[in-house]
Amino acid sequence: MRISHAWLSELLGPLPAPNEVAQILTQQGLEVEALERLGEGLAGAVVAQVMELSAVTPRLTRVVLHTAQGEAICVTGASNLAQGDRVPYAPPGTRLPDGRTLETTDFHGVASHGMLLSADEIGIGADHDGILILPEDAPLGADVASYLDLPETVYEIGLTPSFAQHCQSAHGVARELAAFLLRPLPNVQAEQLASPAQAAPRVEVEDARACPLYAGVWLRRSALLQTPLWMRRRLWASGMRPVSPVVDLTNYIMLEIGQPLHPFAESKVQGAISVRRAATGEEIETLDGVRRRLEKDDIVIADASGPVALAGVMGSARAEVDAETERVFLEAALFAPSMVARTMRRLGLRSEAAQRFAHGLAADLPLRAISRLRELAPAVGWEVLPGALLCGEVAPPPAAIAVDAGSVRTLLGMPLTAQQQVAVLGRYGFAVEADGDALSVRPPRDRIDVREACDVAEEVLRGVGIDSLGQELPPPAPAVDEPPLYDLRRDALQVFMALGYRAAVSYSLVDPSLLAMLGQPAEVEIANALSVDLGALRTTLRAGLLQAVARNLARGVGEIALVEAGRVFHRSRTGILEDESLAFILCGDRAPISRFPRQPVDFFDLKGDLEAGLAALRISDVTFRPGTDTALHPGRQAEVWADERRLGAIGEVHPKIAEQLGIEVRTLIGEISLGAVLAAHGDLVARPLPRYPALLRDVAVVVDDAVPYTAVRQEVREVLGGLLAADALFDVFAGTPVPPGKKSLALRLTLQSPDRTLTEADAEEALSRLLRRLADRFGAHLR
């Protein structure tokens, strides 16, 4: 909310400089987000009087002015001037807040010496077309900036929900400042309403929960006045636009004490008024000219022919006060905060009134507003008629809050005696009775935010100043186990980063159609998604990485290696399963273009990275089996298994999917479940180093093309058993002299025994056993 320094100063007396006030407010919890200075920079304008008006063209008027220096001539497009008006005159050389400096200008042969200023040009209002008419007693020749007390400082305050309950008013903010500056708190007495004296309109409240208190008074126009300049300026400084005297008056009282008021043009309301729930489908045209469909949780003020106001939110065009209105019924009520909040949110109608009702108001605030109305109405040319209307009762103040001063000491870590606490609370207007450490606390009526002992503790803290808190590190607490997946996720990312991958972070909300395309349809859809492309929780990290690749390719980045760790979401019969997943993607070249040979990535780059990665994560016995993932190239994909546990899959992105995503280069992608990795995770136990020398043997065998390498390897490991210390495939060869349809696999075998030195004969014997087996199984022969 916005409030001017001048207004606070009127309520509290002279104040410290604006910067200091801003600091005090912020330290009290009213965060001053910005300081604005209205009318800053205006220099040279003086108060002048309009002597004579004559038309230059149908739209331009020549004005003869009387200034302290004599006569001056101005041309203006404004049409609101009358002879005798006091106006702000800016002679040539005047500097305006927007930085312009005025000169003499020619209009159709008439020289305008400077200009007359509107409120907008001065910076204290919105009205651009009309000249600002100053009060009759504005001294001729006075400097306009000093006469208007410019610049006018305005505090822009960010309200937390609790301050929104008691500080959406000048009085609210002033109370906080007063408590710090030890000034008396501003206050307005509630009017004791007599029973209704006026018969029409009759008002009936149908739902007392929706509207616990409905009060009203009747006003009659007594003079045709303009809203006084001081009131218009406060409205403007507070962010509201002056409209008409009676509307400005209601808005002013709302800004002053926080009670929204609503005027109905009495002549436009037909028959009895009822305060009720809206009927579903009922419609209202609100003051902003929009027709709105209502629901049964909206509260309306209705007359015989339907809603005349959306209670607490906005009035209707039908009962709007206009220039002809001479009598007004003015409502001062309380509406259920939650209902107003819901209507406000649903319709997106964040009116000043709704923002106040939605946070709740003090039970007696409507009556205080009426009493203030009686005082202020004459200033705008209106008169409050005797008598008033009241439906419901002012709720009694809540019971006193029991507070243990000792608990406050513990909570704040401050040695504050009960007496000190009582004194601090007194500054905020709290009535406290103390019996030793047992405090009985009655907050002021406006402090609906204070309900429990801990709320009172916060008041004490604000009172003594949050800066007086001490500092002490907390005592140690017993250590607990940490979730093992956290470190595994970190380690897995580190390993892939070491292998050249950049860590990616994608939205976990993705387009369900993308998931479907990847063959892993959404299982958790969002009921109120922001957009289709954020419509579901991801079932696979592939979605985000493929989009990242497409985006990077489109931006001209061609060497891509990304890794992401994060959760994927599945349904189970009982709820939702969240698994940690790790996905990695490669495309283009392994390294940027250079004078060295290019290294375009292929399946075995990705596979090699995964093998290295899993080894680094201490997963042994990883096997790869041909897979059937529909998102991957059918001939270039593998399932990843460890320990009879499926970890995930790797492969080349299916060309159709790549095409649909706009990816025009071969892309390799893999994803494994970190949950499965954790389950397969081995313990770290060192094996003894070999004590006997190893024998190296290179063997090349020729087998059918269709025989997978792992099948051969399986036999090698089985036959050689404990003698095989290591094996490596160092060549795969097809073509002459290998017969067509066959391939040669060259293996380097490291033979070693843990308990003796192997002899040449041992090796020969083992190899011939191996060759026999391979011949048996695959018809293999030595090359």
Partner: protein, 385 residues
């Protein structure tokens, strides 16, 4: 200096050196007794040993590569060379001269061998210098490029936060991202229609009533409390949260980190010390820190923590909106309602909690001004980390 044919140490050692001495002396004078002996042996071109010496040294010095030098070795020191010839002839010299002659010839041989070795070293040095000259690279050419991996700025920020708090004795805890409304709101003192729910524009799960995408990491507080009550807890949690917001400063998916400490006698002085240590760990020892009363439904009293603006040093700029401070985290003493929900008795145990946006820390630390950049995985950005 071995390797020259006919000059192996074994052979040389077998020579009867002693007998040569005088003979060589004699040759130093053309009229001496040795002349007749040498002449007799057919040494026509050489006048005396001195001449032999200077001729051989000149030959060595003239060798410009190792091959030429090797030929000189064979010529002068080889089996068929004049020196060997002379040595072999010593036995025929007069007995009185043999010793001197032997000594002189051996000295000459040693000298020539040393000269050979020196010349060879010289030639190798030169050859190496020539090779290195030829091998000189343009070292300003770029190196062989390696694909370089690296972390995400969000991860860097998260790691910094977690590290700082683990050092203060906090332990990690986790919870689901799809959370019950009860744990996300009610247990945290945010009943239906509470104004704070407005600040948490919530995503709901289709076909799963009562479940939402958690709007903050705070439900993990309740989960941890329920797991450990009535024992003291000291936990942090970090993870994704979701809100229906999407603009330059708000992302529908973002990360929070939260800390919680519960125990007997925990007060706001403990919160303040923890926050100050934490802020110093993240923003440096000299950071200015300010606490300011604030509001959160799950804490009371609540405080917002600001640090001196890292962009203008506190003088006021666009980013701190002229205030010299920027908001970093929210905190407060755990609300009694929340303590009770967690299984604690607020009369006995109290606690504090604080939370921080990971994106905000990353954006401040690395000068990133649009939160959406953090989720686009644009390698042009990622490669800067």
């Amino acid at each position: 200096m071995n390797g020259a044919p006919g000059c192996s140490p074994g052979e040389r050692g077998a020579l009867p050196k002693r007998r040569w001495y005088r003979g060589v002396f004699a040759t130093s004078s053309p009229m001496g007794a040795g002349s007749s002996f040498l002449l007799r042996k057919g040494w026509v071109a050489v006048k005396d040993v001195e001449a032999l010496r200077s001729e051989a040294l000149a030959g060595i010095a003239a060798a410009l590569d190792e091959a030429t030098l090797e030929r000189a070795r064979v010529e002068w020191l080889g089996r068929k060379g004049p020196l060997m010839d002379a040595l072999r002839g010593i036995k025929d010299a007069p007995a009185a001269e043999r010793r001197d002659l032997g000594l002189a010839l051996n000295r000459l041989r040693d000298e020539l061998e040393a000269a050979m070795a020196a010349r060879q070293a010289e030639l190798r040095e030169t050859a190496l210098a020539v090779r290195m000259q030829a091998e000189t690279l343009d070292v300003t050419l770029p190196g062989r490029p390696r694909a370089l991996g690296g972390p995400h700025p969000l991860q860097l920020a998260e790691d910094a936060l977690v590290r700082a708090l683990r050092q203060l004795g906090f332990r990690l805890a986790e919870g689901p991202e799809v959370e019950s409304e009860e744990l996300n709101f009610e247990a945290l003192n945010i009943p239906k229609d509470h104004p704070a729910r407005e600040m948490h524009d919530t995503f709901f799960v289709a076909d799963l009533p009562g479940y939402v995408l958690r709007t903050h990491t705070s439900p993990v507080q309740i989960r941890s409390m329920r797991a450990h009550a009535p024992a003291p807890v000291r936990i942090i949690t970090v993870g994704r949260v979701y809100r229906r917001d999407d603009d330059v400063t708000h992302s529908p998916v973002f990360h929070q980190m939260e800390g919680l400490a519960i125990g007997e006698g925990i007060g706001m002085q403990h919160l303040k010390a923890t926050l100050y240590e934490f802020c110093r760990a993240i923003f440096g020892r000299d950071v200015r820190i300010r606490l300011r009363p604030s509001y959160f439904p799950f804490t009371e009293p609540s405080a917002e923590v600001d640090i001196g603006c890292v962009f203008c040093g506190g003088n006021g700029c666009r980013i701190c909106k002229g205030t010299g401070f920027i908001e970093i985290l929210g905190s407060g003493m755990v609300h009694p309602h929340v303590l009770r929900e967690g299984g604690y008795d607020p009369q006995i145990q109290t606690g504090f909690a604080f939370g921080v946006g990971v994106e905000r820390i990353a954006m401040l630390r690395y000068g990133i001004d649009d939160v959406r950049l953090l989720f686009q995985n644009d390698l042009r950005l990622l490669r800067q980390f």
